[in-house]
Amino acid sequence: MKETKKTYWKGLEQLSNDPGYVKHADSEFTELPSALNEDGTASRRDFLKLMGFSLAAASLAACETPVRKAIPYVNKPIDINPSIPNYYASTFSSGGDYAAVVVKTREGRPIKIDGNELSPITKGKVNALVEASVLSLYDKQRLVGPMISGAASDWEKVDAQVKASLASAGAIKIVTNTLLSPSTEKVLQEFSAAFGGAEVVAYDAISNFGIHKASELFYGQGIIPSYHFDKAKTIVSFGADFLGTWISPIEFAGAYAKTRKITKEKPEMSKHFQFESNLSLTGANADYRTPIKVSQSGLAVLALYNALATKAGLATVSASKVEVAHLDQAANELWNSKGASLVISGSNDPHVQVIIHAINELLGNNGATVDFSNPVYYRKGNDTRMDQFITELKSGSVGGVIFYNCNPVYDHPRGADIAAVIAKAKLSIATNGTLDETSSLVQIVAPDHHFLESWNDFQPKKGQYSLSQPTISPLFNTRQAQDSFLTWAGSTTSYFDYLQAQWNSTLFPTWGTGLSFQEFWDRSLFNGVLSTTSEPSIVAPVGNVTAAAAEVSKSYQASNAGAELVVYAKVGIGNGTFANNPWLQEMPDPITKATWDNYLTVSQKWASENGVTMVEENTKKATLTVNGKSIQVPILVQPGQAYDTFGLALGYGRTKAGKVANGVGVNAYDLLTSAKGFVSYELTSKVEVAVTEESYKIARTQTHQTFMARENVIQEATLAEYKKDASAGRYKPEIYKDGEFVKPSKISLWNGHKYSQHHWGLAIDMNSCIGCGACTVACQVENNVAVVGKQEVLNRREMAWIRIDRYYSSDAAADDLSGLEIAAENPEVTFQPMMCQQCNNAPCETVCPVAATTHSSEGLNQMTYNRCIGTRYCANNCPYKVRRFNWFKYHDNKDFAGVNITQNDDLGKMVLNPDVTVRVRGVMEKCSMCVQRIQAGKLTAKREKRTLVDGEINVACAVACPTDALVFGDMNDPSSKVSKLLKIEESDDASKQVGEERAYHVLEEINVSPNVWYFTKIRNKEKNEA
């Protein structure tokens, strides 16, 4: 990496890249390689010394354990100032998932990943997975150097052996997930050129090959179009969880939210229909959700096509009739919003996708909401080709196979086959960074850098480019995979030079005038993203609907007696690549609120028929049999689940992921088939579920499902009502006092305090909160929140500072209290992010005997950890139950070392945020509204002798939120976004008067006067309709 230092980007404030500093930076790092030896730990320690940082001093400052000495800089690198963070634009990409990010580093350690606002695709937003990915850099599972047949080796040996055997191996295949990087593709081309046409076989753990194939059939080119949800007035989705996991959820969620935000000025929102079997995150946000058996979905699509075709006066296709509620309504709505509507399907069946294409074509959405001229390049995996490859491997016709950062043995339906026959290949190499299910089976492991250590470029969409750059010197003796390929191909150029050369030859020329390449490069690297304009290619339908319709009719049926299994991906764990990340494991599933497990979701009807009842966390296990394969899996009763359909999540049942993930849940990939040439996630035949007597506990952070019709908690209305009355659905408690009814805030013994400087507040729009949980992980990363593991979650002791309460509606009458505890069969779902409400009349403060929690002069409810004696009185007296207690010592405690790795093993500790203390045993903690960020912002403003600018301080949850549901700001500043949003009357009183009719306080009647406001949930539907 030495050469690379010269252009190693050193953060935003270092835009002018003077050579003097480069020299310094260089000399700072020259000793580095010598410090790296085979022993990972030692090298890391030395590396840390070079970086002059000791984590212990910072993170354990508050503990009563003796503070270990920090090692001062020998000579300080110019760009690294202790306690001053640096930010590097970079890119997250894994198996076709993509996000443009900004990496925050402290004293040279990446500690936080936020979105890159310059990106036109992800628009500065991330999801839980991306937030958490920073921890994978510090994963003890990572390989510390190359390996040959299971034994540690060095790169010289590896290169020698690889080169030797590649020459004689014969047919070479490079197996990879979707490649988003043009330069990497180029490298692989060179590589294959060097070895007589080594072939690249791309597959994806979660395949969208169906859409590819469909586009090929229907438009003549195998592409996935861009979807513009923000332009859609009507959205119809057949089982596509586009807010959670489908293709590009971050991008889609942001766009979708635009259509859900409503104001008095613009009382319009999109209408969203969802037809699905499992209750997905997307379904939970739909206005109309119809549970259907997945075996019907194809026919439902056809029915929709026919309905629209009739309207359009076109020929209908023959399809057996299927009864699906709200389908006709959907058709009408779609028709009425032609050109501004969007129909999608989560099916991986090309023929269904053809019909979907046809419908969008028919609605004139092509070019409007569905953009084929700017296709996306995620999920380019080819299931058919992958199948072939496995067959070839079996037949022994594959001489050499290189797994490029992919793990098919685990995450491909035929992984078992691969594992069985991989030995048949003369040469097998993996570049995976850890010794996972696949790389543990190959002869040579040439571990790649972590993406935070490596250079790369990406083209997620046509004309959209982004770069990733190292934010830390390699922790271990790993080598960037592209460098490996180049070396093996006999090239001597480093991948970094190669990359620059690529950009110089391809992108720089299109960029036009004014800049030297260096300037162009620096700028692109600084921005992290680059957009080029390309002439739109016209795509016109060539395929034929009738053929596809016939295919669909064959594989779907109007009524299927048998059980059906729908395999899905969880928002947190996704395809399981990052399963070894405790943050993701403990992140409650947005719908089920379950952690540390996957499980079989069953409908309430089925549960009662089979005598399964879930009391709190207790449930039974079931035997799930698919095509003869049987597994034992716990049952989770899921309101909204279509009757006789069952859901099972991917990404669990890892065997070689690491101590966190190994043995958690069951592996659903084993149950999938790719028989028809594409991986099918819908198993509609040969599925049997039998309840066993074995009882089991599923750790859920929320065990009560409904909100008991409590208007003081959830306030909602329909769009029609809202149009009539902006305060529709609002519950305005009034208390009788001296002959009149007054607002609770009017009744007090005290005059209250004034906040003369700032008054921090948070506005939460329940309409745009989709419940994805990105905020919860962001908070966990930012605030060093401990992970406590399954048992402690079972004990109801998770530590999350922000949680998302998920409430189901109930069919029971408002006074039927026991009935209200049971969720409706197909409930309306409401998400309510809940964190410390920073009450101005905080009940917690009054009761603390030692004044460990008091109020700041800026409206913050502050927790003084080192004063806390842990009576827990504050938590008991908190009406919102947002306070969290350190029941045990979670840091440096072997009992928690297995799960709470960020506070237990020396490598994991490097991710801790030095600005936030790690809490000791026996103290209370809670959301601080990221007070460390507020202080940092105020200091910056002070240093620059200016007043704060709205938006320069933002809380971690709001930054992460892909839908901007949370808005943070100074309520004393009339120009701030939050003030405008809430229409706050200007005053420095503690309890502010808001003019926004939708805004309300949860539990207003107890007048604790929170600084967090919620906006009523508005549904675009008629009342009394599920």
Binding site: L749, A842, T846
Partner: protein, 176 residues
């Protein structure tokens, strides 16, 4: 004692007899040193002409001290020394100060009074009392008459007065 002290002891078994005896003995000009009883005999203090105890006043004063200490402490700590915004209340939220003030009133009143009692009555672990007759803590009332204070009367005279007043036995006890 620098000089020997000699006492005449009248032993009584019945408290009513004792009460009359005390009046009788005092009536006949004998100065009673003290009467020792196994339990409080009501009216004895009047018979002996003791003034009412001042302990109640002590208790009251100490109580007042407690109240004022408590209030001063709470106002000083909460409002002046380190004011903090707590639950949106005023720095000095008076109603909240009442319980502690009450408790400290009681505490100081009780301890102050008991302290005074122990001191005035010379009660302390290392105190060496003069025991005239061990039965005085069991079932007998002992009337002690200090000869030094009754020089005007003959010893036998005193003895006969005691006997006639109902003493079941009359003894002489000297301390070196």
């Amino acid at each position: 004692m620098e000089r020997d002290t000699h006492f005449i002891l009248g032993v009584y078994v019945d408290e009513d007899v004792l009460l009359h005896a005390v009046e009788k003995v005092r009536g006949s000009g004998v100065k009673i040193h003290e009467v020792y009883s196994p339990y409080p005999v009501h009216g004895l203090e009047h018979a002996l002409g003791y003034k009412r105890s001042k302990l109640p006043i002590a208790a009251f004063l100490f109580g007042m001290l407690g109240t004022s200490l408590a209030l001063t402490m709470q106002f000083y700590m909460m409002k002046f020394d380190w004011p903090m915004i707590i639950g949106g209340k005023n720095y000095a939220a008076f109603p909240d100060f009442v319980p502690v003030s009450f408790e400290m009133t009681v505490l100081l009143a009780a301890f102050g009074m008991v302290g005074v009692f122990l001191i005035t009555s010379n009660l302390k672990p290392w105190a060496q009392p003069r025991i005239f007759d061990v039965r005085s803590t069991d079932d007998k009332h002992i009337m002690a008459i200090d000869l030094a204070n009754n020089t005007s009367l003959k010893e036998d005279k005193i003895k006969s007065i005691l006997t006639s007043s109902g003493a079941t036995e009359v003894n002489r006890k000297s301390f070196e």
